[in-house]
Symmetry: C2
Subunit: 521 residues, 2 copies
């Protein structure tokens, strides 16, 4: 049988890799030429899946991205499909080597870029100052006030009053399932308060009211005091708090909420977009519904965009600690200091404790969909996920929903679960988000716009009404850098007001999902 | 100073109690007569709070309900306010004494009562057969399909199509924040599937569709197979499943969902209420925003209604294990068998392990609002909470969201947190719910109607538009039994179609809150 170049069917990412990744389905028996040898795939290989380009003896490392993604569970022959059936995790000795590979700062950009955003004024710290949207929020302290908060938003929307305030993007109810039955001043209480405060203070929120029940653990008064919440514009005015128990029921609460918003709206509307340096962009990243292409196309391309943002003096946030897991040594080597590196290791160890308590394997994170798409181990997935953050130094590691104040590449400790991760990242101050997906997602996260990047062209074509950018052409020769620049330009345009696909659909209210560690009492 | 009878200001619940509970605010210095002695309250006592009617030496038991609610943390004088400042938990030796106090079965009722409900036919087991409402559901498998599910419901509502189907109470999107990033086939996966299936099979759900993303852990196909989901009416037809990734995005998913519902609605509408014996009632109970009156008025009155339901051959469900905690020995003594008693003890021990992992104190459960209302310890709160379930034998203990198939008084293991607890109880098959509250709540839980009982008259008057029944008159002489019968009659009327206050407000969609044990990965 005649052979064809391997690059016609697959990507061999690094010269030392003993596996290649199928760019498209490869029929069984296909003979592929690679560096003067012939690799004959023994059975059909699906797109995104791996096959061996060299024999991998039982117990030896499986290499992809020039990194270890697992170990052969038995002897693997050349051309054989490499996946869960013949790869195991092994006990991978991790060497944190803090700061060992600290990258040099990027050279200044050829051009300093700008976007048209909202400047909330010098009374706000930088990370809460520069907005890309202009929403009004109804912050619900507890599930018991969620319906009331939704009704207030609905009543304002259907009243037609918003037509008088064209600069207001909308009213967002920030509602959730938590807020009580947790330890008072325990980790979940503090974390939920931090998250709610991150939204209240978010630069995309012009103003807000707080709606509670009255007897919940997450007391509105505690929230206001502990997080120093004030109303808009440096007035130091305390925010409006409405509790159902004081108002006398849901009907009166809704009336009071609508009245409070009606009073806020004229000031909320009194804003204009102004030209702002791109250094005020805080980019939140995430991947969800990953496939074997995520680490080859969309994530490295988003990494290019991350580097461009950082080069402008801005910030990029990498979350999803469970997806960093197993490859955190790549990041500790890029840490700006041992202290920052150790913050990440501390979080990794916490996750090992946390999942261990439940007898959970953190390797379970690749979902059935991920595995069907060709991802074999958490190491492989992690290395593919980290690519989103680009190549610059890791300048800080913050806890879930903590304000992100550093410039550069910052890690936030979040679960990998998309809505929970993004909720923390937006609370941290992200004013624009990018989400990569290989299987497809319709994710959105008010009040921050979120661009979605397809890792492959079939997905992009199937879900074009939900996908903002197609990274699939990387599989047919478009340089990663080109797609990265396309993402960067889309970030600037989105930050300046251009609507993302999920904004056009109105998605982003059901997705507020604060992380609950437990226990729910 | 002249003295007045104690009963004018307070309730001395049992002769052996060394505390009494203020019915109304008592001015400091008020002299109260009790059994020939005079108790002079040393400082003002708020309504619902306790004061000593006998000296309680340091370390001795504080007795209320004829039970131990805690131990004196120092010497407490007659007339002194008894609360967190002078009561500690102590190490209360619990004696489970399985079946020791098994109550005799209740005599047959004077009259066998009926309600007008829906009979879904003999192809369904009893606990999924007899409905009190007729809703259509959109079951979302994961947060990633929550917005799509909401949009389907909105589009059906605003289309006007429902006007042609007057027997359909509405379309309910069953949406949540979970569904992925959990152990595949682990406890949270199984528990969420059980919960979703409980709603899909609920007797108040005429039919349903399932909407997923496609790559989530809670795969629709796994849910359908593991839980044996079929479409309505014993047709054995598999339910309609729409996934966003297969449909090609959110727009097409919404269109497909609306189309699927339009096809289902004529059959869903083809139902009539028929007279059914009250033994088919499965009552779900809960208390939220409790105060010092909860255990004196509304909960004992609901206990009377529970007994009346059980006497009719029906079922009453007590959840909120964290609120049973500390008083579970009252229930193990009422267990129908040692096996049933041990099921409860096993759950209590699990909770001790679970909260211990996080260094959480289960005693933290009384919220600031509870404490302000006069509840001092978890024992006190638990004994007050258990009163809801009445006095009959504990016939079964089930796990969260498990089908409740036994007749009589059943315990379901749930957290105390109202929406999470009620979600499990409704999933278990409750076709009518009663919720008691002292501080006020606007809780509702589609598809099951939920009556709300105020523990005190000021609350009832303040939130009359949200409260269905006032148990406050118990504080001014109305017998507990009378209010209990009023609740029982309201249950029958509600089951027959009369709308509760929360139904009139439309509450009950934000409150679907499946219990997540953790970890979120
Ligand atoms: Ca991911
Ligand atoms: Ca994921
Ligand atoms: Ca993710
Ligand atoms: Ca409660
Ligand atoms: Ca409760």
């Amino acid at each position: 049988m005649s052979s064809v170049p391997l690059s016609e069917f697959a990507v061999h990412l690094r010269p030392g890799d003993n596996v290649a990744v199928a760019r498209k389905p490869i029929p069984g028996g296909t003979a592929l030429r690679l560096d003067g040898t012939t690799v004959t795939v023994s059975a059909p290989v699906k797109m995104g899946h791996k096959f061996a380009v060299r024999p991998i003896p039982d117990g030896e490392a499986v290499n992809k991205y020039g990194q270890v993604i697992g170990f052969a569970g038995r002897n693997i022959a050349v051309g054989e499909h490499v996946h869960v059936q013949n790869v195991k995790l092994g006990s991978f000795e991790r060497d944190y080597a803090f700061c060992a590979d600290l990258p040099a700062p990027l050279p200044p950009p050829a051009e300093y870029r700008t976007f048209l955003g909202y400047d909330r004024g010098s009374s706000r710290p930088d990370h809460q100052r520069y907005g890309t949207r202009n929403y009004v929020a109804i912050i619900s302290t507890v599930n018991c006030s969620a319906s009331a908060s939704k009704y207030i938003a609905e009543k304002v929307r259907t009243s037609g009053i918003l037509r008088d305030y064209p600069n207001v993007d909308g009213v967002v109810p920030i509602v959730h399932r938590g807020g009580c039955a947790m330890q008072y001043e325990g980790p979940d209480h503090r974390q939920l308060e931090r998250t709610l405060a991150g939204f209240a203070k978010h630069p995309n929120i012009a103003g807000f009211i707080i709606v509670g029940l009255g007897c919940e653990i997450v007391q509105a008064s505690h929230l206001v005091e502990a997080e120093g919440l004030i109303q808009i514009g440096g007035s130091k005015q305390p925010p409006t708090v409405i509790t159902i128990q004081e108002a006398g029921g849901i009907g009166k609460t809704v009336d009071a909420g609508v009245k409070a918003l009606a009073e806020l709206l004229p000031r909320m509307n009194d804003v204009k977009r102004v030209e702002l340096p791109a250094k005020h962009l805080i980019l939140g990243t995430n991947c969800g519904g990953s496939d074997g292409n995520s680490g080859v196309t969309a994530n490295p391309a988003l990494g290019v965009a991350s580097d461009l943002i950082v080069q402008q003096g801005g910030t990029t946030i990498l979350g999803e600690t469970t997806e960093i897991y197993g490859a955190e040594h790549v990041l500790t080597r890029r840490a700006v200091s041992k202290e920052v590196g150790e913050k990440l290791v501390e979080r990794i160890k916490w996750w090992e404790w946390y999942t261990g308590v439940f007898g959970a394997e953190i390797n379970n994170n690749p979902s059935p969909g991920n595995k069907e798409g060709g991802l074999t181990t958490i190491y492989e997935k992690s290395l593919g996920a980290i690519a989103k953050a680009g190549s610059t130094a890791m300048v800080d590691v913050v806890r879930y929903a903590e304000p992100v104040t550093a410039k550069g590449f910052v890690v936030m400790d979040t679960p990998g679960y998309d809505p929970v991760s993004m909720t923390g990242i937006v609370a941290g101050g992200a004013n624009v988000c990018v989400f990569t997906t290989g299987r497809g997602s319709v994710y959105g996260c008010k009040p921050t716009p979120c661009l979605k990047i397809a890792t492959n062209t079939p997905l992009y074509e199937k879900m074009e009404s939900d996908m903002d950018i197609n990274a699939g052409p990387i599989l047919t020769g478009t340089p990663v850098e080109d797609v990265g620049r396309e993402i960067f330009e889309a970030i600037l345009a989105t930050a300046s007001g251009e609507k993302t696909k999920s904004e056009l659909h109105g998605v982003g209210e059901e997705e507020f999902a604060p992380w609950s560690i437990g226990p729910t009492l």
